[in-house]
């Protein structure tokens, strides 16, 4: 009977990001472990894609999660989402690292103090889950012409400007601008589509 009761036990919902951030603000390292297990593969994948070097990627991943740990109190009262914040900080840190090595001029908007509330999802209540969003992003990108896809990737992963991309792809500046904006607007539509 005892074992039957165990097997009939309803499946426990994993804790939400918000609940974990509450615990993080109370210095609960188990919450940090859970958040790390939830996001480290995506964050490490992103950083590795930009840095192309494992040691650097590891250092930046640790830096990003430590910032989360140290600034957890900032997130407790925020309605913002954690995932876009993590992605954005991870990208900016990695591009900054590359810029340090190459001494390139800073171009991103990270002079702003980014806060989770500064990421507004189109409709948070009906947002598709992480897995399906990832599929939609990849599928939409694959549907774009190769050059347009390349332009967006150069901007996101290489931190290049419109002019630099136009030069790299040997395309007109106006074309590159419209490719990037057009691609992102299509991405927004794809992500906003009802379930």
């Amino acid at each position: 009977m005892f074992l039957a009761a165990i097997h009939d036990r309803p499946e426990v919902e994993p804790p939400s990001d918000a609940a974990l951030m509450e615990r993080l603000a109370r210095r609960d390292t188990a919450a940090l472990e859970t958040l790390y297990d939830r996001y480290s593969r995506a964050v490490y994948g992103l950083i590795f894609r930009i840095a192309q070097q494992a040691a650097t990627a590891e250092e930046i991943v640790q830096d990003v999660f430590l910032q989360l740990w140290r600034n957890a109190h900032l997130y407790r009262s925020s309605r913002g989402r954690l995932e876009p914040w993590l992605f954005t900080i991870a990208r900016n840190r990695t591009l900054d690292y590359r810029r340090l090595k190459r001494e390139k001029q800073r171009r991103r908007e990270d002079s702003l103090e980014l806060h989770p509330a500064a990421f507004v999802a189109p409709n948070p209540e009906s947002l598709v889950d992480q897995k399906r969003r990832a599929e939609r992003v990849r599928s939409l990108m694959q549907s774009l012409p190769a050059q347009q896809q390349k332009a967006i990737e150069l901007a996101f992963f290489e931190g290049m400007t419109h002019s630099e991309i136009a030069q790299a792809l040997e395309e007109a500046l106006g074309t590159v601008k419209s490719w990037i904006r057009g691609g992102l607007l299509r991405l927004r539509e794809a992500l906003e589509e009802a379930l």
């Binding site: 005892f2 074992l3 036990r9 426990v12 390292t29 940090l32 472990e33 790390y36 297990d37 480290s40 593969r41 995506a42 490490y44 994948g45 992103l46 590795f48 930009i50 494992a54 590891e58 991943v61 640790q62 430590l66 910032q67 876009p84 992605f87 954005t88 900054d96 340090l100 090595k101 001494e103 001029q105 800073r106 171009r107 991103r108 908007e109 002079s111 702003l112 103090e113 509330a117 500064a118 990421f119 507004v120 999802a121 189109p122 990832a134 990849r138 990737e153 901007a155 996101f156 290049m160 400007t161 419109h162 991309i165 990037i180 904006r181 992102l184 607007l185 991405l187 927004r188 992500l191």
Partner: protein, 257 residues
């Protein structure tokens, strides 16, 4: 003044960091007017652009990274069960609880001793972590000081009451900051080291606090050629540091002349 209509086509590229200087200045000038409508659109664009991260394939980070993170966060250092427990694990846990009920009397006798040993163990672990961190810092400091091409800089205090700090900078190994009798920043605030490039915004190179005796020995692994740099600076910032220095909180500056 630029209107919302003129910049609405720039929201996404602005957040992406793809705007050339002129367009970027147009957006920033408009945002400084406090336009709530455009600020809201920028927030939407920020979320959208963040989703491009899914284009990068997920990768499993090395297990050691998880351990290092938890050590750095001051948490547990040993590998522990991850995720949700399968059914058999619940059964095992329940069985252990039953067994423990039979052993309550004996266990109570040992509780005091176990608690004392655990406290001692935790204290010893903390001491080891602290010693390990000190050892790493000393090794890095020595590597910077003994490397060829290391340059010494004087960091001048912005208030005469404070002592000067020294920086030892090696373009391949990082920066060592050293100082004595440095007043601690109030509360949980921190000092933050900045590399100030000749063009562009300052780059954070780490945070630190003096020890109880006012001694500073901090190492940043920032790697950068000096040719593109105009100065090192140290500001006082909230706990955890900020992405950019607070202008009226710059405490020390060391120009590269």
């Amino acid at each position: 003044m630029t209107g919302c209509e003129q910049i609405k086509e720039l929201y996404e590229a602005y957040v992406l960091g793809a705007l050339d200087a002129q367009d970027r200045e147009i957006v920033e000038a408009h945002l400084t007017t406090g336009c709530a409508a455009c600020a809201a659109e920028i927030d939407r664009a920020r979320w959208l652009v963040s989703q491009l991260a899914y284009l990068a394939p997920k990768r499993e980070p090395p297990a050691a990274l998880r351990t290092r993170l938890l050590e750095a966060a001051g948490g547990r250092t040993q590998e522990e069960p991850r995720g949700w427990m399968p059914g058999w694990a619940w059964a095992t846990a329940a069985a252990l609880v039953l067994i423990s009920l039979f052993s309550t009397y004996q266990a109570r006798q040992y509780q005091g001793e176990v608690a004392r040993l655990q406290t001692e163990l935790e204290r010893e672990r903390q001491r080891q972590r602290s010693l390990e961190a000190e050892r790493r810092t000393s090794e890095q400091a020595l590597a910077i000081l003994s490397a060829s091409g290391t340059r010494e800089l004087s960091l001048k205090p912005q208030t005469t009451a404070w002592p000067e700090m020294r920086a030892f900078w090696n373009p391949n190994r990082g920066v060592l900051i050293a100082g004595n009798q440095i007043p601690a920043p109030p509360g949980d605030r921190t000092f933050q080291l900045w590399v100030v490039p000749k063009t562009g915004d300052p780059i954070s190179a780490g945070i630190f606090r003096p020890d109880a005796a006012g001694k500073v020995l901090a190492v940043s692994s920032v790697v950068m050629e000096m040719a593109g740099t105009s100065a090192l600076a140290i500001s006082e910032e909230p706990a955890g540091g900020l992405p950019q220095p607070t202008k009226d909180k710059i405490r020390w500056v060391g120009p590269l002349t």
